[in-house]
């Protein structure tokens, strides 16, 4: 593990969603994005910027940074990159990140929508693949942009054997760190991951919304809408359980929770 990976590892990743394409007030949304980004980086956390999350068209993080001329530490930025792009667009994003000094990317399959194009196997030089998954995306980035450190997702709710095999493919394609799906307690699959892949940088996603039921699709069973959930307490607990891991905070409330997180760190 090199020095920068270690730092990433002990960090909080704070998820930031760039303004949507359908934004009613683009400038206001951009300013909000900028203020969140700056705050996260000032706190010494890593800003994790999503890529058309849930298939909803949004502007790209690098565009926002470039357009606003934000002076931020690029080492504190992780961009998500999914398989719903044209190859031209994918190259543009990666080239722009190179210019900005951003060197961390989370390669995921992602969510499509009718408006989003999908990478084809031929685009990324994997003619034999049936479709482009994160594995093909990783190989492509590794080959053409070797400067990037590539992270991948890990889902403890998928069939275990299948998920570990997929992880192996992702790692051998060139991934070097992992961000998991959210957990709310000690998780045997995560334990196995930490045990079997000692030395691999693992960041655990902590669910920072009180609406736990939104995770129903992720965990694969219905969570009642009125389920009691305390995100901050859960995060505290997880940090105790997994002191060696960093935490990825999704849906963090900047008004209500951010100060508490800063204190915690």
């Amino acid at each position: 593990m090199n020095a920068s990976e270690k730092r990433l590892n002990k960090n909080f990743h704070v998820e930031i969603i760039p303004p949507k394409q359908e934004s009613e007030n683009l400038e206001a949304d951009l300013n909000l994005f900028a203020s969140k980004l700056e705050r996260v980086i000032e706190s010494g956390f890593t800003a994790s910027i999503t890529d058309n999350a849930m298939g909803i068209l949004a502007f790209q993080g690098h565009e926002c940074i470039e357009e606003l001329g934000l002076r931020i530490d690029p080492e504190k930025v992780l961009i998500h990159l999914n398989t719903f792009h044209t190859i031209k667009n994918l190259d543009e994003i990666l080239a722009s990140c190179m210019r900005l000094g951003i060197r961390s990317v989370l390669a995921i399959s992602g969510d499509g929508s009718t408006r989003l194009p999908k990478l084809c196997p031929a685009d990324v030089g994997c003619e034999n693949a049936l479709s482009v998954t994160s594995v093909e995306l990783i190989s492509y980035i590794r080959k053409n942009y070797p400067e990037f450190r590539i992270g991948v997702a890990f889902n403890p709710y998928e069939p275990e054997k299948h998920e570990f095999e997929k992880l192996d493919r992702k790692l051998s394609a060139g991934a070097s760190f992992v961000i998991t799906q959210p957990i709310v307690d000690k998780n045997p699959v995560i334990d196995k991951l930490l045990n079997d892949y000692a030395g691999l940088s693992v960041t655990i996603e902590a669910w920072m919304s009180k609406k736990l039921y939104l995770l129903s699709d992720v965990v694969g069973y219905p969570i009642p809408e009125d389920a009691e959930y305390d995100p901050i307490a859960t995060l505290e607990k997880l940090r105790g359980l997994y002191p060696q891991c960093g935490f990825y905070l999704s849906l963090l409330g900047f008004k209500t929770q951010y100060r508490l997180i800063e204190e915690m760190a």
Partner: protein, 262 residues
């Protein structure tokens, strides 16, 4: 080359929900989007302009909020946009709409190429494109999936049909309606979206385009809606087969035979 792209703002279709009683789709939500087929027309216009140079004008008819559709076209790369909007246009059917749009295109002047999506996904009529073409005395090709050649006086395209495709050459002015397969519409860049946000979009009224008030709007449209009704319910009972593959297949084939489907 001067190109006009005609677009339409349509309601977005959201997640599919099925009414358990009628087994029909329940539509909800009223978010407005650019008609998906029109995005291909916009992209193709940009691709043609990249080859030939010239100017692209996006044109739509609709209420004030249809400006958002034009802004999306601008952020994709069209040069300017015009909104045809007035109460007098309200309720126009496809004939009256084609007439109004054709008048606007005449007003723009010297237009060689007009691009439209194959059809709008709300009405599904595919009538406005050919309607405009006729009114402008323009040649037309519907369901174009490839623009083969752009020449000084003509455009050569492939249009698909049920059996294959035709190669056709159209002298200008020509109107093409395009299908999905023709290209991959670009996603607007932030910088272009910010510029589009500030763009001035002129609103044209009937008098600005010299439209005869007796030929536009609901009252003057040849077609009139007499009534609307919910569609007949689909077969409301779902036969569920949930057993081992051998047994399931056997039950299924027997069911098809029973229903005389094979």
């Amino acid at each position: 080359m001067k190109i006009v792209v005609c677009i339409k703002q349509v309601p977005a279709s959201n997640d599919a929900k099925i009414d358990p009683e009628t087994k029909r789709i329940v539509r909800e939500g009223s978010k407005a989007i650019v008609n998906p087929f029109d995005l291909y027309a916009i992209e193709e216009a940009i691709a043609i302009k990249e080859r030939t140079g010239g100017e692209i004008i996006a044109l739509t008819m609709g209420p004030e909020k249809a400006k958002n559709a034009l802004k999306e076209a601008l952020s994709m790369g069209v040069d300017r946009a015009i909104l045809l909007s007035d109460r007098a246009f309200g309720g126009s059917d496809t004939w009256a709409t084609s007439y109004a749009l054709a008048k606007a295109i005449e007003t723009i002047g010297d237009v060689e190429l007009i691009l439209c999506g194959k059809q709008a996904v709300d009405g599904d009529t595919a009538q406005v494109g050919p309607g405009i073409a006729e009114k402008l005395n323009a040649r037309q090709a519907a369901n174009v999936w490839k623009v083969e050649k752009i020449e000084k006086r003509s455009v050569t395209v492939k249009r698909i049909n049920e059996r294959g495709w035709d190669l056709v050459r159209l002298q200008y002015p020509a109107l093409l309606t395009v299908v999905k397969d023709i290209n991959t519409p670009r996603i607007p860049k932030l910088r272009d979206a910010l510029i589009a946000e500030k763009a001035e979009i002129p609103i044209w009224k009937p008098c600005d385009v010299g439209a005869d008030p007796d030929l536009i709007g609901l009252k003057n449209s040849p077609t009139q809606v007499v009534r609307t009704a919910p569609p007949a319910a689909r077969n409301a009972v779902t036969l569920k087969i949930d057993c081992k593959p051998e047994e399931a297949s056997d039950r299924f084939v027997k069911e098809l035979l029973k229903r005389k489907l094979i």
